[in-house]
Symmetry: C2
Subunit: 338 residues, 2 copies
């Protein structure tokens, strides 16, 4: 037992599960950004044909799972599990979006780290022999997030320079015990890290220490360094959070290099689109992974990436009660070789 | 691979993880109920020494984990993972309650099925060789749930006869690859089931079809019947939901028998305590399992139980938008023999 652990926090998967399908969907602004060509579906309608934004978010999850299944001619019944969650209270984006599929479901709450958490658990379920095929997925919607976490959208609330823009997007990866890759080879589960940052308009700074903690553990456990990866990509730290992580590592004498990226900095053109510190939301890293990143790996652009989405585990209630922002980061190594 | 699956939905654990410690905590009303003697800690103060009820709920999780660790002289660093979640928006009961422990954390959202979901994933993580020791836990608090899902507590809202009472309680189980038992031998993951019930004051009826679905799958996959278990215990179906499940099985020609119980019916004296349809909340099944049930198994009262907590995956927003209530049930077989 426990033979799969390397170091203290990382598991090396004995039979790395393969990505067999992936899909993403985005909204209007995601379609105006630099990753436009890397979306399977873009919808100009923020309601995605539904009557409310919450139902729209569920519809995104529904469509993205259906597409990921269709691409490899699978039926919902071929999946042993779905691992999914989202930012909405009681995760209704996932439970309502996925209820009609009839697939055994593990609901997650990892805030914007959910793509990392769901992929980690799906990979472990397959490697552990509990499943042949499993889906990992999540979503976010600018309008559902704004009205839940901040202000009603029609209020036109002014945003601080450190604010990030919640992506209207969803992504789904289907993993299987057999396949042509890319493969999930290592998983490092995050700890909850809280360094006392309490500004809910500066999530990047709150999440940076969690990213540093998990990435450090990953490098230590695997005895590797950033340069061993073609890309080290965090989820949605944005400009400020990303710079903080780079700075933390630099103090340890580790240069994160040019291949250290952030999905929140990749998804939008911050200058032209006026996105302040960058993109955020579960759907940010989910849509960047399940498009730009996995397609790039399949096309030979990158061979080995370290994917490390972060999540801020606050709620409006916790902030009203004067609390700081606990954060978490889950990291996975995705490689074209087993 | 996948050799651990029996039937379509159930996994039989090859090396059943052992319960090595468990603890629970409750509030005033839980201490006035019939399971009083089966609580490790009871607090008359609904704030548990904190300034808000949300912080109180976090404190319950903190205390219950600390106690479960202390009982077997473990330190937080001995745990490879914590699997936890709760009912609060963004699951702040867990993330704030557990942030100081520094243990790798998988956040879950399974509503009142969370004790089943967390135990399932913890057992699979250990059986799959990813962990030696893991904690599974959850909580609920009457006052946080009331103000989030229903009305502010001071409003003194009148309750319908089908309403249930959210338990102020938390429970934690620590599983390990080695131990004296009881053992988790089988896990059946729930599907999201929604039969169109939209009355948020009748959760039992909404959750009953999910319980029937998962229990049916479990009996089919394991080729067993209710009489093969000393106890088949659902989470918080309450009087009405429990009777519905019994009725569904009876239509299939299956008599659920006298050993078919519900934690929501065990926790309170419904007559004397005026609890209407019974107890509910994540903490209901969590505190009944991690006290009355596991202690009973250790004392030889029961050898094999089927534990099947249910969750209603609604939110106030989904109900306001006219939605029905999707539900889920996760089932585990817990046995004194491997």
């Amino acid at each position: 037992m426990n033979s799969k652990r390397i170091g203290r926090r990382t598991v090396a998967l004995a039979h790395p599960p393969s990505v067999i399908s992936y899909a993403n969907i985005g909204g209007k602004l995601e379609g105006e950004g630099p990753l436009r060509e890397h979306f399977d579906e873009l919808d100009q309608d923020s309601f995605f044909g539904e009557k409310t934004w919450e139902k729209a978010e569920s519809m995104m999850q529904k469509r993205v799972l259906r597409r990921a299944l269709d691409q490899v001619k699978l039926k919902p019944g071929d999946l042993d599990y779905i691992f999914a969650g989202d930012l909405l209270n009681q995760c209704i984006g996932s439970s309502f979006g996925l209820r009609e599929f009839g697939v055994p479901f593990f609901g997650l709450y990892g805030a914007c780290s959910t793509m990392g958490e769901s992929l980690s658990l799906a990979a472990m379920a397959i490697d552990g022999g509990f499943a042949e095929k499993a889906a990992a997925m999540t979503s976010s919607h600018f309008c559902t997030a704004e009205r839940q976490y901040r202000m009603p959208v029609p209020y036109g609330n002014q945003r601080t320079p450190t604010a990030q823009w919640t992506a209207t997007a969803a992504g789904c990866t289907i993993l299987a015990s057999q396949g042509e890759g890319p493969y999930i080879t290592h998983v490092t589960c995050g700890k909850i890290v809280d360094k006392g940052i309490a500004d809910a308009n500066n999530m990047g700074a709150a999440m940076a220490p969690a990213a540093y903690d998990t990435l450090s553990a990953f490098f230590r456990d695997t005895e590797t360094k950033p340069q061993d990866y073609d890309l080290v990509v965090t989820g949605d730290l944005g400009e400020l959070g990303h710079a903080i992580v780079r700075d933390f590592f630099s103090k340890d004498g580790i240069d994160m290099g040019e291949h250290f990226q952030d999905c929140g900095l990749l998804l939008y053109d911050r200058e032209r689109q006026d996105m302040h510190a960058g993109g955020s939301g579960c759907g940010c890293s989910a849509s960047v992974l399940n498009g730009y990143l996995l397609s790039g790996m399949r096309q030979g652009k990158w061979k080995k990436i370290l994917f490390a989405p972060t999540g801020a585990l606050l709620s409006p209630t916790s902030s009203f009660q004067g609390e700081s922002i606990p954060s978490i980061c889950h990291a996975l190594c995705i490689s074209t070789a087993k």
